[in-house]
């Protein structure tokens, strides 16, 4: 049982997950987002090998309308 801050909100995970699993949990299409772990961008090819730990801060972003 770990706690992370995901997009500004606390989320509880049963165990440490890698980014790939994390996206699946929230059913997010990896091709449409970018992920930041503790203020560092995680490149797509590291989604499997990168695990989130307790207290980690994760941001998952996408493109929206903007001027």
């Amino acid at each position: 049982m770990i706690k992370i801050q995901l997009n500004g909100e606390i989320q509880e995970l049963s165990k440490r997950h890698n980014i790939d699993e994390l996206l699946k949990i929230f059913s997010i299409d990896p091709n449409k987002v970018a992920v930041e772990l503790n203020r560092t961008v995680v490149s797509k090819d590291k989604y499997i090998t990168t695990y989130v730990s307790n207290q980690d801060v994760v941001e998952i972003v996408t493109f929206i309308g903007g001027g």
């Binding site: 995901l6 997009n7 500004g8 909100e9 989320q11 929230f26 059913s27 997010i28 449409k32 987002v33 970018a34 992920v35 930041e36 203020r39 961008v41 995680v42 490149s43 797509k44 941001e59 998952i60 972003v61 996408t62 493109f63 929206i64 309308g65 903007g66 001027g67």
Partner: protein, 257 residues
Amino acid sequence: MDNFKVGSKIFKSRLIVGTGKYKNFQETADAITASGADLVTVAVRRVNITNSTEPLLMDFVDPKKITYLPNTAGCFTSEDALRILRLAKESGGWNLVKLEVLGDEKTLYPNMQETIKAAKILVSEGFEVMVYCSDDPIACRQLEDLGVVAVMPLGSLIGSGQGIPNRMNIEIIKKQSKIPVIVDAGIGTASDAVIAMELGCDAVLVNSAIAKAKNPILMAEAMKNAVIAGRQCYLSGRMDKINLASASSPAQGKINN
């Protein structure tokens, strides 16, 4: 063909449109189509964790057909801007980005100190940086010397629709620049866009003027034609203004002579 080249990319249209302020994604997509734009600005924001099924811009505007230009709207420090654009780059391999570092909420006027600081770093990281900036010719040259691929001086305040009060500055910037000059912000109506192009600008960025028109789709088409008209007018070389009248019909051959 009179294409629009910025950095390593070439675009058909000299009208860049924003994707904000529309009623919904469908209207956004329709307006883009009507505008003929093949380069559109987009913002980077958190996905909705609680409802991942809600539609995304990408579902309506295909990034493979229309080039996304990630911006840093809402950033007030160079750090925030860098963070956003690094994410944008990762999220789609985007290299061509629009940097804007704002000075305050009320005016959304650029903070040129922070903007120049961020531009320097982004260029060093290999970004192709288009920069929203003030209409300060010296600052624009400093940005060009740093290696940005386009300067985007504001015509007037973002979303104000006040047009281009200071045309001389835009002209000076255009004359001195080897990189594209794009009027960003302030365009409120078709004639504003034409004037920007008549001043010699390489392109115009429009968002509010289209999204906030009563009929955004028709206005998008108006802007498309406005930018074309302004470009053709610039290329054809306007007549000189004169202070008195000059008859369009010859005096010679008049029956009352």
